[in-house]
């Protein structure tokens, strides 16, 4: 049934594009590359936009690491580049906090949400479920362009006279609600909120599309339990996004009201710079509930697609089925449910009722169980495999290592007793960078290396890929592992100069070291970017449709699939996607009917 509907959809669209049989051959540049409705092109748009944002966000982190590593030094070049924001070659506090805020916002939302799930949901969902495009290609296109608009607004905020928002990526009021509180709280914060609202629209349009596509447009034989794991991961990600992003939108809008219309949703009892404000009765903590009701699912929105892709890549490159497919599904489901029930663990020290706190401790640590299941299943997947270390496979292994390291420190922070000491210290920074930031980044890199041949019909350069992997994993651990010690010493996060403190100034050498390593890691990311763009045009060409010997449907399409993906009929699916090493055969594609003598699993 689903096959016939999609064919009809495509036919209608072809009729619309100049009544030609193969509309995509005759498309203008604008409809093919800019306002494209082809899910593959939209995916690439998300990816390339994400890469541009990642460079900007990463560069910001290099700037503030310079301040952290060398608080006493002056860098005249910075004054040349940034003028009053780096007076005398030193990063000014307002600038520092703007950099930190933009780094967080860009990386969390623009790179790891839009750049990661926007890219791979778009590219993989129709290709792996056997559909010609998304349920609504038009909404899908709008999803990208709302994201683009959000980016334009955010980029504009960097150039306003009072600078971009500087209230931290969480944008807690009253700081973010009061223009008097600092330069970054002026027009920059309004733009930040508008940008977020646009971003939520983009995310909802995308998410609804992903869900309806997965539920309705699977090819014949592709039952839900035959879906490859990346699709399941994208499905739960989209559900999380659809249910939680509106809550962020409400928080952002209420905050805009408080800032511009004189409401008191989050404001009460405020005296700032000697000025008594009239607001009474609001709750600053309410915003934190609204924010983290998105904010916590958000970390899983970032992590789940990476988990799904890593599962696929580890299985393909171990030449062995994923271990415990149903358990992987179950744990994805459990994580998705629990993701909604743990938000207040970010708020243990806000004065939250201790009993409520204890409930959130229980639920938070519960989430470690499905996480542990996933880790053990990945370990068992590579056990007794026959592993090919493509750059994608290496990044997938790196993901598992980082997910273990960062996940375990989550057990410290999820336990409210320990959180009292570690809350808002560098320990938290180290924890979420490893488990959410770097690990998801590794998932994204794994995905790019693995599906680049599908996207562009060429390979990425392997040697550059290996250099990229090894420097990045070593660098990530060198940066973030020792940072835990700063946190154990209680060094608060977002301190740009610790020399004035008796108890926090013992890490000067360590901060220099971390800064140097982060610059090296940043440079190596540039190597990746060069590799990426060079290989699009000059990379080694694919000679086979299925370069990795994988079972899933995307590798049954032509090397450079047109709009519509398959030239003839959409293939029919007869088995789950992980029949590797079965009955002495290296791999059995999903399209192959089950033989009479085949063993059952």
């Amino acid at each position: 049934m689903s096959e016939t509907t999609t064919v009809q959809v495509v036919e209608v669209k072809h009729a619309a594009t100049h009544h030609e049989e193969h509309g995509h051959h005759e498309q203008s540049f604008i409809s093919k590359y800019i306002f494209s409705m082809d899910h593959k092109t939209i995916g690439k748009q998300f990816l390339i936009t994400g890469i541009v944002w990642a460079i900007i966000g990463g560069f910001f982190s290099v700037l503030f690491r310079l301040q952290l590593g060398y608080p006493e030094a002056t860098f005249p070049i910075l004054e040349t580049l940034f003028g009053k924001w780096a007076k005398g070659g030193q990063i000014q506090p307002e600038f520092y906090y703007s950099l930190v805020t933009m780094h967080g916002t860009i990386l969390v939302f623009f790179v790891l949400t839009a750049g990661l799930s926007g890219t791979f949901a778009n590219i993989l969902i129709p290709l792996q479920i056997g559909a010609r495009d998304m349920a609504s290609p038009f909404l899908n296109m709008l999803s990208y362009w709302f994201f683009f608009l959000a980016g334009v607004v955010m980029a504009a905020s960097i150039f306003v006279q009072t600078g971009p928002a500087s209230g931290g990526w969480t944008m807690y009021p009253p700081l973010s609600a009061l223009r008097q509180a600092g330069d970054g709280q002026k027009i920059g914060t309004d733009l930040w909120l508008v940008s977020m609202a646009l971003f939520v629209v983009s995310s909802l349009l995308g998410g609804l599309n992903y869900i309806s596509t997965i539920l309705n447009m699977r090819t014949k034989g592709m039952s839900m339990t035959r879906l490859p794991l990346p699709i399941w991961a994208m499905f739960f990600t989209a559900v999380l996004g659809v249910l939680s992003f509106p809550v962020l939108l409400s928080g952002a809008i209420l905050l805009l009201f408080d800032r511009n219309l004189g409401t008191s949703f989050f404001l009460s009892d405020i005296v700032i710079n000697g000025e008594v404000l009239p607001n009474e009765g609001g709750s600053a903590i309410l915003y934190q509930h609204l924010f983290w009701f998105l904010g916590h699912p958000e970390v899983y929105i970032i992590l789940l697609p990476a988990m799904g892709m890593v599962s696929e890549i580890l299985s393909v490159n171990s030449r062995k089925p994923i271990f415990g497919y149903m358990a992987m599904l179950g744990s994805l489901f459990a994580i998705a449910i629990l993701a909604f029930l743990v938000w207040a663990h970010h708020m243990f020290v806000t004065g939250l009722n201790p009993f409520l706190g204890s409930v959130f401790v229980l639920l938070t640590l519960l989430i470690a169980v499905p996480s542990a299941i996933k880790v053990f299943n990945w370990l068992t997947t590579i056990w007794r495999g026959n592993i090919r270390f493509t750059p994608a496979a290496l990044f997938a292994i790196g993901f598992v290592s980082l997910f273990i390291s960062g996940g375990l420190t989550g057990i410290f922070l999820g336990n409210s007793t320990i959180d009292i000491h570690l809350h808002d210290t560098m320990f938290v920074v180290a924890h979420f960078h490893i488990v959410m930031g770097v690990a998801s980044m590794f998932g994204m890199f794994a995905g790019v290396y693995h599906w680049f041949p599908k996207m562009f019909g060429r390979y990425l350069n392997n040697t550059l890929g290996y250099i990229h992997f090894w420097v990045t994993i070593a660098g990530s651990y060198l940066i973030f592992w020792p940072m835990h010690y700063q946190g154990l010493a209680g060094v608060p996060r977002r301190y740009l100069d610790k020399r004035g403190w008796v108890n926090f100034n013992q890490f000067g050498e360590l901060d220099k070291f971390i800064t140097v390593v982060s610059i090296i890691v940043f440079v190596v990311q540039i190597v990746f970017v060069v590799n990426f763009f060079y290989s699009i045009y000059k990379g080694r060409k694919l000679r086979t449709e299925n370069p990795w010997g994988a079972n899933t449907l995307e590798w049954t399409t032509p090397i450079n699939p047109g709009h519509g993906n398959w030239e003839g009929d959409i293939p029919e699916v007869h088995r789950w996607p992980y029949d590797y090493a079965k009955d002495g055969r290296e791999f059995i594609p999903q399209t192959e009917p089950v033989g009479a003598s085949e063993s059952k699993h």
């Binding site: 906090y97 271990f323 169980v369 542990a372 056990w383 270390f389 292994i397 301190y495």
Partner: protein, 347 residues
């Protein structure tokens, strides 16, 4: 000039890396992709093993280097509980860390691609999956149990004989109010805040409980061995009272008072000896981003004996008298300062 040089070196480095990569591609083309792939597979498998070994050495070395720079003995009774929980968790998670990381990198090395091996078709095993669902669940239940037990101890009601201090955060500093002889913090209202007229926290002068309340800035004094309850608020934006040595932390939220209590174990003087740092002081750090001065929002706590504390407090004039000098006849002042302070209770 220097920047130019560094940029030139960076660009040169990128070009060199890029050329090497391109050359390797040509070499692979000449020798055959399959051979090149197999060779790089061996190299990467070896590197994974090397990474494991070097990484574990690095973990040990990092600990040797930094273990003395994290905080020493906790300086409050709650801190003892926090540290115990922390080290139990550290022990358990470190074992899991070792087992899983070693398994990951060792499996990767051991099961690297080889022409002689066939991958083992092993899609699931219910017993195994049950084991590694149940064991983490049990271990985590233990951690949750202890964690919640300690959490309730720490966040439970303060002892009856606690002294009370009000802490107020503002951009960018700390203010404190002591309840004075009656042990009661007088009422306040934010619209009465008027620093120019000596009413920095907005006390209502018509409340008699306010008449003996003492206001100080930046430096809080506490009594060793005596429980203290902090009543925490903020004037402008959210701040956070971070007390690293006491292992305590609580947000200061405008409009929503919060509290925490603890018992300091050592005086500042004792800590100078314990840390062998003559400059040691207890510091209050703001742990919640509060604006451009967040990183420098520092307060000091002096922990001292009861006698020292009484003498210190007696030297302070109640804010009521500072704000209303006409109400400050000399005799009254002496009576106020001579009143006993011990046994102040919260009502």
């Amino acid at each position: 000039m220097q920047t130019l040089l560094i940029s030139a070196i960076l660009i040169l480095f990128l070009v060199v890396v890029f050329q090497i990569a391109k050359a390797s591609e040509y070499v692979a083309m000449i020798r055959g992709y399959e051979n090149a792939r197999k060779q790089s597979n061996k190299i990467n498998a070896f590197l994974l093993l090397a990474f494991l070994v070097l990484g574990l050495i690095g973990v040990y070395y990092c600990n040797e280097l930094l273990k003395d720079r994290i905080l020493g003995e906790p300086a409050s009774d709650h801190g003892v509980l926090v540290d115990r929980m922390l080290y139990v968790t550290l022990g358990i998670t470190f074992v899991v860390f070792l087992v899983t990381q070693i398994a990951l990198f060792w499996f990767a090395y051991k099961y690297q691609e080889s022409d002689n091996r066939k991958a083992f078709y092993y899609p699931h095993n219910n017993t195994l999956e049950l084991i590694w669902t149940v064991i983490p669940a049990i271990v985590l239940s233990v951690l949750v149990g202890f964690g919640i037990f300690y959490w309730f101890k720490i966040t439970g009601p303060a002892p009856k004989d606690s002294m009370v201090v009000e802490v107020v955060g503002k951009q960018y500093g700390w203010e404190f109010r002591y309840p004075g002889a009656d042990g009661i913090l007088g009422k306040k209202y934010f619209k009465k805040v008027d620093a120019a007229n000596n009413n920095p926290v907005g006390q209502l002068w018509e409340d008699p409980a306010n008449h003996d309340d003492v206001y100080v800035e930046q430096e809080m004094h506490l009594v060793v061995g005596k429980p203290v309850q902090l009543v925490i608020g903020a004037k402008d934006v959210i701040h956070d009272v971070g007390l690293v040595h006491f292992r305590m932390k609580m947000d200061a939220v405008p409009g929503t008072p919060t509290t925490m209590w603890f018992t300091p174990k050592f005086t500042t003087k004792e800590m100078k000896v314990k840390t062998s740092n003559p400059d040691f002081v207890y510091e209050i750090s703001c742990d919640q981003l509060c604006g451009k001065g967040h990183w420098s929002m520092r307060g000091i706590i002096v922990v001292e004996t009861q006698e020292e504390f009484d003498a210190w407090l007696a030297s302070k004039k109640p804010q009521y008298l500072v704000a209303n000098p006409d109400k400050d006849p000399p005799q009254q002042k002496e009576i106020a300062s001579a009143a006993p302070l011990a046994g102040a209770v919260i009502r």
